[in-house]
């Protein structure tokens, strides 16, 4: 009796939590499909779903442009960070060299300081480098991720040195060893890193808010935030925009679920 009852209670609790978690999302999707008239009549879905909100997004607002801006900034950010962080992580994992300890301590130290402290000076820096009000001004400051470098270092430590030696015997340059031997083996960590980095860049708000001025350059968080003020009563449009804004990350997570969770928890468990 006890075991079965317990199981039922567990399922009930899980179901309850699932409801709480998923209801806002359900409401989000429902709201995005409600036409203007039905907005205040039906709590969730209306019997006449309409794509009017989505159409409005692309006709009244240059939403597609904001989508492209976000994809460009996030994608470019992921690719550059991926390259530099994995390269650097590899260097820190598999090489001994002078100054290694100093560099690592320095990196660790900076991780402890909250990034907002640097907001002002980096803003001034971007201004002097003439990167103000440009998408590259968003990408370049974040091009190297200390956190990512340590993630890669952690996972690359496990690669057996014999593999690398074998490569060297075959006449591979160090870079080719990285490119052809180390990278293919690090796929799980790469997957996790991609998701974390993409998510961070995609959802970033503070930086774009400060750096970008021209309306055409806005990324999705900025654009959506401005929409809220203008469309506060016709929230269907805002919800439609939100749906499109969270979809890419959701899809990416779906693909990279396993790697992400493995990568995230590896650091915690192994210590």
């Amino acid at each position: 009796m006890g075991k079965k009852a317990l199981l039922i209670i567990v399922y009930l609790l899980l179901a309850l939590v699932t409801c709480v978690m998923l209801t806002p999302m359900l409401w989000l999707v429902a709201a995005s499909l409600k036409s203007k008239e039905d907005l205040f009549h039906y709590l969730f879905f209306s019997p006449r779903p309409s794509l009017a909100n989505f159409r409005l997004l692309f006709s009244d607002i240059p939403f597609f442009r904001f989508l492209m801006n976000s994809f460009f900034v996030s994608g470019m950010g992921v690719l550059t960070q991926l390259f530099f962080s994995s390269l650097g992580g590899f260097a820190l994992a598999k090489y001994e060299f002078r100054g290694k300890k100093a560099i690592m301590t320095l990196m660790l130290a900076t991780m402890l300081i909250p990034g907002q402290v640097m907001l002002g000076p980096v803003y001034q820096l971007i201004y002097h480098l003439r990167l103000m009000d440009s998408l590259w001004g968003l990408i370049i400051p974040g091009m190297v991720s200390v956190f990512g470098m340590f993630l890669f270092r952690q996972s690359m430590l496990k690669i057996p040195d014999d593999l690398l030696e074998a490569g060297r015997i075959d006449g591979c340059s160090e870079f080719r060893i990285y490119w052809n031997i180390v990278l293919p083996v690090s796929k799980p960590m790469i997957g996790a890193f991609c998701l974390i980095t993409f998510m961070g860049a995609w959802n970033s708000f503070l930086w774009p808010q400060i750096i970008l001025h021209t309306r055409d350059l806005a990324t999705l968080p900025i654009a959506l935030n401005q929409m809220v003020g203008v469309y506060s009563r016709e929230y269907g449009t805002v919800m439609a925009g939100t749906v499109l804004s969270v979809l890419p990350v959701m899809i990416l997570f779906f693909i990279l679920q396993k790697e992400f969770i493995a990568g995230l928890t590896e650091g915690a468990i192994k210590g």
Binding site: P24, L112, R168, E174, F253, L264
Partner: protein, 303 residues
Amino acid sequence: MNIRSAKFFLLQRKAAPYVFLSPFIILFLVFGLYPLVKSLILSFYITSGPKARIFVGLDNFRFLMGDRDFHTAVKNTTVFTFFSVFLQLPLSLGLAMLLNHSLIKGRNFFRFSFFSPHLFGQVFVAVLFGIIFAPQFGLLNRILHFFIPQIPSDTKWLANPKLIMPSIVLTSLWMYVGFNMIYFLAALQAVDRDLYDAAHVDGANAFHRFLHVTLPGIKPVAVYVMILSTIGSFQLFELPYVLLGQSPGPDNAGLTIVMYLYLKGFEAGDLGYASTIGWTLALGVLVISLLQVRIFGMWKREA
């Protein structure tokens, strides 16, 4: 391989780590170290806009200590962090324990649905919940009023100073409970099953097993998550800022430390004072993290 190419081969092997790290070093110096140092220097100035500045030494810090708005920000942020750690983490742990039950099917489905709110990002969550908290037509008010008619359907969650912090805590709960659960779940699954069996044989009941096997077993992860949570909570900004319509809310009820930094630096224009706030926050977070490590022990696995 002839002598020359062998030499080159050895050279590139020696140079490799430096070359590999050089992009990082350059970017780190330019966008990491330089701004850090500059912001420390700026904290001793009062500035107005990007050009005008005047040196004031430690006066910024002195003023900060007496700044009532800063006190409000610290109070709000601390309250939020407190609930983040002591309300949210136990919930995450509880959820993980539920999910860890050996006979549960569809674990992946539950895991995905609990974790997905985190994928939204603070801004989109704030946009969504800004509407959910709306007085008349918001989801929350409609549902509450339906189940408990005594609750008025026009409760102004985001306009009533007393309800603002609870709203923010609630929203962050929705976002992060699943995220921290992932850590706890992995930790629970790593606990050695034999220990449980041994305890069971010794006659320990479920509660005892929890206290003496589970908790110590997940302690390293728990401490890690707690520190991460604390640091993250102290940096809260985007969620309340967007939720309250780009303002700290009536009576500064939603003002957090980083929000104050942003308002002072980028809306009022005093980047010097903003740097002061930033470094004070950094110091505070550092001290608290070290304290946590001290009290709860390093998160390295205990032998």
